[in-house]
C-alpha cells in the first residue's frame, strides 16, 4: 500500500513552497524596480536601467 503522505513529502513541500514564494517575491521586486525607473523618466536604456545623463536630449 502506498501511504498518501510521508514526512519526506512534507519536507519537499516546505522547500517547494519556500522556493515558489521566493521566486514570486523576486519577480515582484524586479517588476517594481522597472516601474519606478521607467516612470521616473530618467535617460536610460532598457537592458540595464542605469541612468545615462549623456542621453538627455538638449532642446
Amino acid at each position: 500500500m502506498i501511504r498518501a503522505t510521508h514526512e519526506l513529502h512534507d519536507r519537499r513541500k516546505s522547500r517547494n513552497v519556500g522556493l515558489g514564494l521566493t521566486l514570486v517575491g523576486f519577480v515582484a521586486i524586479v517588476f517594481a524596480l522597472t516601474v519606478v525607473k521607467v516612470t521616473r523618466g530618467d535617460p536610460m536604456q532598457a537592458f540595464d536601467h542605469v541612468v545615462r545623463p549623456e542621453m538627455e536630449i538638449v532642446q
Binding site: S14, R15, L33, V36
Partner: protein, 307 residues
Amino acid sequence: MSDASISAPREYEPTFGDYVALLKPRVMSLVVFTALVGLLVAPGGLHAVEMLAAILFIALGAGASGALNMWYDADIDAVMRRTAKRPVPSGRVEPGEALAIGLGLSGISVVMLALATNLVAAGLLAFTIFFYAVVYSMWLKRSTPQNIVIGGAAGAFPPVIGWAAVTGDVSMASVLMFGLIFMWTPPHFWALALFTKSDYGDAGVPMLTVTHGRDSTRRHILAYTVLLAPVGIGLALTSVGGPITLAAAVVLNALFLKGAFSIWRRDDLAAEADNYAAEKKFFKLSLYYLFLHFSALLADAALGGLL
C-alpha cells in the same frame, strides 16, 4: 519529477529552513541595520522601492558569503559545539549545495544591486563577499590570531555599500562608519572569548586567548577600545553627525573605555572570583554601543530633515 528521485531518496531531504540557515540570518540582521543607516544618512535619496531592493540584495550578498563560509568551514564547524548543528556539518545540506547556493546568490545579489542602484555599490558588495569568503574564511582565519580583526572588516562594509548605493561614491563619513564597526569588532569578540569556554583550539583555529594568552587579550581589548574612541568622535564631526551623535559618541566611548580599562587592570584570578562580571558587562555594553551609535546617526538625520 522522475520516479527515480522518489524511489531512491537521499538520507535526509532538506527543508527550506535548512537552506535559509545557510545564510546566517542573525548576522544578516546586523547587516540590514547598518546598511540601512548608511542608506538613510547619505545625502540625496533613493525611491522607496530602490531602497528596499538595495537592502534586500546587500543582505542576500551577506547571506551568500555566509553560505560560502559554511561550505568551506564545515570541517571546523563539525568539531565545535556551537557550530556542529549548522546545516552542512550536521548533514542536512550537502557541501556542494552550500557552494552552489553561495556562488549563485553572490552573482544574483551583485548583479541585482548594480541594476537597482549603481556599479560602485555592486563592486563593493562583490569585494565584501570575496573578502569574507576567500581572504577571511579560506586564508587568514586558520593562520593568524588576528582573524577576528580581519573578519571584522567584512562585517564593517554594509554601511559603506548602503552609502554608495545612494551617492555612488565613498566618502569620509562612510569610511568612518566602516572604521567604527571595524575597530569595535575585536574588543567585542575578545571580551566574549574571555568568559566563554571555546573549542576553537580543538578545531585548529588560532584564537588570541590561546596563542598569546589571556593577559595579552586584555591588553588588546584596551588598545582597540582606545583606538575606537577617536573614530566614534570623528564620525560625529562629519557631515552625517550632529548633536545627538556627538553626545552618544562621548558617553558611549567613555563607558566603553572605562569597561576596557577595568578588564585590562585585572587578571583571570580576579575575573574568576566574580565570575567574569566585568567582561560580561563589557560584552553587553558592546552590543548597545554599536546599536546606539548607529541609531544616533539616524536620529541626527531625522533631526536634520525636520530643521
